[in-house]
């Protein structure tokens, strides 16, 4: 009894103290919800500069795992609870939420220079010509490969090779006995995981998510051929357990020197060429994404951007912060603090015109070329009614993409055939679209 009462008293005292000393904020406090990545960490670090330049505004950060962030900001925005004043959203959400009136248009006043933002990124974050989210980094996809291994195998890789050539290289480089796999690709289920890559392959093979009447085409001959190719390629020349690998798992494998090739987000280029985290930093080369029957939609386009929800109680301060964090001056500030190789890329033309940046980032030209070549308005061989390269910018896509991703991941793991997987996905997509009233 003695020890219990001691504990109880201690707890009660700490509870009372903490409650009475609870939060008291004199300034305008804005809360920024974001994902955990290098650029965001840098932004967090530089926030005191913003606070110094804008006395009276305090910035609080909430960093969340990507799926939790999506869930939380959707909840916050749909219920207009106003927990967040600035939120990090992707290219998929920006136009949909803009259309629904959930976001404030970005205030592009002052020296923001909207025209400096790369056109494809700007259009992907706009609805009806209005910019609803300001990009802080953009990315496309490209081939990253080990020039030493490819050369030793007597092969070459060029920009926009055919997928068949990529398979030949993967076969030549593949040496599982020595722990080297021909190719590493995303296999983990998710519309932003395996489906980002698989959609670009399907685009290249002439497929599309929906026809002009919004009828899903997931089990079309083009998709079937593309997914069979992907499952065969990754099954034969990929690492074991590829169906559970996504960006981070492949990054770890590549940096450990276990992948001959890796086709993924351009942002990876800065990681695989960084000697502090990659064992093969000096052996990496880049090429534009492979193509097959069409050059359209071969590489994806994505941007993480800052948006201001309409429920915010501090719109002026939030807009100020967004303008600061995605400005040209911010890029220079990062360069001053962490060097030009660490600046956020894929957003502004001016960044790629800076000779210091071009010198520091060996991947800069390949990245810019990939981003510029992606066109969300025209990404399929046959005409399609949707905007987006690796996704269709409609609310129903998230569920359709995730289900299809699960099916294809199942096929990759050998749980079903590709045909079964695609038929299942097609049925689910048809049901989803019917329910949505298409």
């Amino acid at each position: 009894m003695k020890s219990l009462s001691k504990n109880t008293v201690a707890c009660a005292i700490s509870l009372a103290t903490a409650i009475t000393t609870a939060n008291a904020f004199a300034d305008t406090q804005i809360t920024v919800a974001t994902v955990n990545n290098g650029h965001m960490i840098e932004m967090q670090k530089l926030t005191p500069e913003f606070e110094k330049a804008n006395p009276g505004i305090k910035v609080k950060w909430v960093t969340l795992e990507e799926s939790v962030l999506r869930q939380n900001v959707t909840q916050d925005i749909a219920n207009k609870s106003g927990l967040y004043d600035v939120m990090t959203i992707g290219m998929y959400e920006a136009p949909i939420w803009g259309q629904r009136g959930w976001l404030e248009p970005i205030d592009a006043s002052g020296d923001y220079d909207k025209k400096d933002i790369l056109p494809s990124i700007r259009s992907g974050l706009s609805y009806d010509g209005t910019l609803y989210a300001s990009p802080f980094y953009g990315e496309s996809s490209m081939v990253m490969y080990r020039k030493d291994l490819v050369k030793a195998a007597g092969m070459e890789i060029h920009d926009n090779d055919s997928w068949d050539h990529i398979r030949d290289v993967a076969k030549a480089v593949n040496d599982p006995d020595n722990g080297v796999y021909g190719i590493c690709l995303r296999g983990k289920a998710g519309w932003g995981d395996n489906m980002a890559l698989v959609t670009t392959i399907a685009n290249s093979f002439g497929g599309r998510w929906f026809d002009e009447n919004w009828k899903p085409e997931i089990n079309s001959p083009e998709w079937t051929k593309a997914v069979n190719f992907y499952v065969d390629l990754l099954g034969k020349y990929g690492p074991p357990g590829a169906s559970s690998n996504s960006f981070n798992e492949n990054l770890a494998l590549f940096n450990e020197g276990k992948c001959g090739m890796w086709i993924d987000a351009t942002i990876a280029a800065s990681f695989v060429t960084d000697p502090s985290q990659s064992k093969v930093a000096d052996q990496v080369a880049f090429a534009q994404s492979p193509q097959e029957v069409t050059k359209k939609g071969a590489n994806w386009l994505w941007a993480w951007a800052l948006a201001v929800p309409v429920a915010t109680k501090h719109e002026e301060a939030a807009q100020k912060f967004v303008r600061w964090a995605t400005s040209k001056d911010y890029v220079k500030l990062v360069a001053k603090d962490a060097g030009w190789a660490a600046v956020p890329t894929g957003t502004r033309e001016s960044t790629y015109q800076n000779p210091n940046f071009l010198e520091a980032a060996v991947f800069a030209k390949a990245e810019l070329k990939a981003i510029k070549s992606a066109d969300p308005q025209d990404s399929t061989l046959k005409p399609s009614p949707y905007v987006g390269v690796q996704f269709a910018s409609i609310p129903e896509f998230q569920a359709i993409g995730t289900t299809t991703g699960q099916m294809i991941s199942g096929a990759l793991a050998g749980a079903m055939t590709v045909e079964q997987a695609l038929n299942n996905a097609q049925k689910a997509a048809e049901r989803q679209m019917r329910q949505a009233g298409y």
């Binding site: 009894m1 020890s3 219990l4 504990n7 109880t8 707890c11 009660a12 700490s14 509870l15 903490a18 409650i19 609870a22 939060n23 809360t31 919800a33 994902v35 955990n36 990545n37 290098g38 960490i41 967090q44 670090k45 609080k60 950060w61 909430v62 960093t63 969340l64 795992e65 990507e66 939790v68 869930q71 939380n72 909840q75 219920n79 609870s81 927990l83 967040y84 932003g192 960006f247 981070n248 990054l251 770890a252 940096n255 450990e256 276990k258 987000a265 942002i267 990876a268 990681f271 502090s276 985290q277 990659s278 064992k279």
Partner: protein, 276 residues
């Protein structure tokens, strides 16, 4: 083999088995702990490296990036606060059901337990809207309320079973000596079941400390506990295992130390029924 030798062998085998199970259970924590001292490259290396030059960089990053003290304080306040409130409600509830059972007591107990069978996500939207309308989002009070409600059924069940094991004759004797119902609880029931109450409280604290679903959904910056801090180190694009391990180590440390100090009560409470 003599009887003595047989007994020794049996003790040895049981001991070895216990050690094996204990090591197996402890391994993930051990691995998390040593990963927190690795660089990101060492953390992902295959085969995993057991011998390496330890670094404290990850802890430095966590200290720089996260307001550890705020998160830890939130965890302490919400888990202790909700446990105290839950015990205040649960002790009289369990007492009345154990010593004065009615016709429907069993049904009530089962009904209470059935609320734990509903997946939390099923009531997320209504709870979220209730919290929003009452200004409880991102507040410690809000989390304390939800944690209290979340653990009440388990606490009442545990206390009910402890109280039920108390011999009724002692209470009768107290009543004959003129004890009021309040005196009966405070002077007889509570001292007799202190071990059970302590272990119930400890279990509740641990459950609250480890809770992530409601913490992640109902808090943002001000009331986020340590579980939310850990979640912030998972990254969609970039290596993060070592930093995540450092954040987890820092989050686990207080509750492990607390559990260590309270071991006596915990074991005493858990074996309460067995030794009687």
């Amino acid at each position: 083999m003599t009887l003595n030798q047989q007994r020794k062998l049996k003790t040895l085998i049981t001991g070895l088995f216990a050690w094996l199970v204990a090591l197996l259970l402890f391994f993930p924590i051990f691995w998390m702990f040593i990963t927190s001292f690795k660089t990101e490259l060492q953390a992902i290396s295959v085969p995993p490296s057991l011998f390496f030059e330890p670094t404290l960089d990850n802890f430095k990053v966590v200290q720089d990036r996260s307001d550890y003290l705020l998160h830890a304080m939130n965890s302490v306040i919400t888990s202790f606060g909700s446990t105290i409130i839950a015990l205040i409600i649960a002790v009289p509830a369990a007492y009345s059901m154990a010593f004065f059972p009615g016709k429907r007591t069993k049904d009530i107990l089962l009904w209470m337990l059935s609320t734990k069978m509903l997946p939390a996500v099923g009531v997320l939207v209504p709870i979220y809207i209730l919290f929003r309308n009452n200004g409880l989002l991102d507040s410690r009070i809000g989390l304390i309320i939800i944690f209290t409600l979340m653990n009440l059924p388990i606490i009442i069940w545990m206390l009910f079973s402890y109280f039920k094991d108390l011999p009724k004759e002692i209470l009768e004797a107290a009543r004959m000596d003129g004890a009021s119902p309040w005196g009966e609880v405070v002077k007889v029931v509570l001292p007799l079941s202190v071990g059970g109450i302590a272990s119930t409280g400890l279990l509740s604290i641990i459950l609250c400390w480890n809770e992530a679903f409601w913490s992640l959904n109902l808090t943002a910056s001000n009331a986020a506990p340590l579980t939310a801090m850990i979640a912030s180190y998972s990254s969609p694009e970039g290596l993060f295992w070592a930093k995540l391990s450092a954040a987890s180590t820092l989050a686990c440390a207080p509750i492990i130390v607390f559990g260590w100090f309270c071991q006596k009560q915990l074991v005493q409470g858990l074996t309460f029924g067995a030794v009687k």
